[in-house]
Symmetry: C2
Subunit: 336 residues, 2 copies
């Protein structure tokens, strides 16, 4: 039997913890025998939650952690002082090699800070990008960086492009993924100082399939598989996607309630509409990996339900089996 | 009788010129007796177009311009060499005081460059922002800057906030408009170097109603009336709005065609859906003013139809009557 993929799961993180996190973990170990989950959090609470399910107890263990980092806490301080928190414990299990990966729906700030200071960067990686999968009209794209560190350097964007390409190809299964630089025009000379300096670096990088600048208008239309930008821009892209979708759906629903005719129509289109919107939701694609660390750290949406937790756990299998970090090490060391 | 508002209209600019531009101009002078339009472009073509309509010829004149600046041309060179182009001629009419304002659906680059080098900035204005009106779930917001000059300074963002507030209050009619700084988090300390330095400037400015940082997610939900950012971020906001709306509508329409049930429903909801989407289109609100110039320059979407041209011409009336530029002069001189 092949080696198990060990995943530490922050059972206390997110709006729906621990119930949905525990359920997602149970579903993951039931679905795939290659994975073992360590549920990290308050033992008594987790024991009670787990008592509702039947599962393979060889592949689902509780690891007690007495503290919880709340989303509002200043991340650096929280990581430093709450040594027995579920996030810090998960991070330490990855750092020490007991786990290959960790998943958390908790404080984004604490996950980002902990990833860097506890798990640590792969030697040569300048900055680990947070890389959510976002939906587009034809499938999905990887958007990086959406982390907390803004004002990136061109050399960091080059690394994002390499790491993103590896992830998109090996984990998501997109062959020779198209890499686009998020910019305000398609011509090479467009943009700010950062994009102008980054463009030739991407163009001259043999490891990636660079297709040039991508305007924000083309992102939802599937303009590129890997979208490279610094975190301020990435955050705006991600949150506009969420905000516009949500506003438009609210408008459309309200619009359909304005006449008897459209009310009847609304009843008829409801199932089709629901499935379309599910396809186009940023929450439907598991978690966002924090790439370039000594182990995999996956941040899922704070509002994650069991399905996202399950997907996030299962994506760790491909990450390990496809030797993503070995590939990143090779490319970053070779390329720099 | 009060003085007429004289508007130069680039009759050759945009995808639908001259037909839709001429029609929009005829509609504008028919709708409001306070406005006089100078249609600038090739005389023979425009005469022929105008021959289809009846209109008050005292308030609609043709001004001949032999050249046209195409959208693909490098703007600086085009403005310099094509002295007899419709855009340059419109700009000169504003500069010389023959017109109060100009409207163009032509090359954005040429309009931005020409606005600065021909019409010229109001003394004290560091950078004239391009300020489109964007739809939100409850109404509209003014987003500035969406121009071509990126990497703005904090003092420029402060000026954008002041000019945007004046425009939103006096032209759009929003009392005491809420000003938000586009950022990646709501807390004061969030963001990049630019937003961190800009925040206290906005907070300490008595002329504006600053409500703090606004995350991109809240922009489509109507988080602020005036959204302040530098042009790279503004461009992403604007184009994500267009791109997500377009992608989502395409998805929803395709989704409704998947079953007989939803096809029938689609027929019933079609009118309601159409009116909702029209409300939420970035093209439904006339043009984007380039603020802070010695006269008003309005850039409308390249795909503008007569209705947008008409709206863009009519918004020049409020701009003049409300003495926007006098107000900007006062605030910029007083405030700096």
């Amino acid at each position: 039997m092949a080696e198990l993929v060990n995943v530490a799961v922050d059972a206390m993180g997110g709006d729906n913890a621990p119930e949905e996190v525990v359920r997602g973990a149970v579903e993951a170990v039931s679905e795939d025998k290659r994975v073992k989950v360590f549920l990290v959090g308050r033992e008594t609470v987790l024991k009670e939650e787990l008592s509702r399910y039947t599962y393979d107890s060889d592949r689902l263990e509780i690891v007690h952690a007495s503290e919880v980092i709340e989303t509002g806490e200043p991340p650096v301080m929280a990581i430093r002082t709450k040594k027995d928190s579920s996030i810090v414990k998960c991070m330490n299990m990855v750092k020490e090699g007991a786990c290959d990966a960790m998943v958390s729906a908790g404080s984004t700030g604490a996950v980002l800070v902990g990833g860097q200071v506890i798990v640590g960067r792969i030697r040569g990686v300048e900055r680990p990008p947070l890389a959510p999968i976002i939906p587009n009209i034809n499938g999905v794209s990887l958007l990086l960086d959406c982390g907390a560190n803004v004002d990136a350097r061109p050399s960091q964007l080059l690394q994002f492009a390499k790491m993103g390409s590896i992830y998109m190809e090996s984990v998501i299964g997109v062959k020779n993924p198209k890499v686009g630089l998020v910019n305000i025009g398609v011509e090479e000379e467009k943009g700010n100082a950062l994009t102008k300096e980054t463009y030739p670096l991407l163009q001259n990088c043999p490891e990636i399939n660079f297709i040039g600048n991508v305007e924000a208008r083309d992102i939802p239309l599937g303009g590129a598989d890997v979208l490279v930008c610094e975190a301020f821009a990435g955050n705006i892209v991600l949150k506009m996607l969420e905000g516009v979708s949500s506003a438009l759906v609210t408008k459309i629903k309200a619009g359909m309630m304005t006449s008897l005719r459209s009310k009847i129509g609304a009843l008829l289109v409801k199932p089709a509409l629901k499935s379309t919107l599910k396809d186009f939701s940023t929450e439907a694609y598991g978690g966002a990996p924090l790439l370039g660390l000594n182990g995999l750290v996956v941040k899922t949406h704070g509002s994650s339900k069991a399905i996202e937790i399950r997907h996030s756990i299962l994506q760790c299998i491909a990450f390990k089996e496809q030797k993503i970090n070995e590939k990143i090490r090779e490319q970053i060391v070779l390329g720099d």
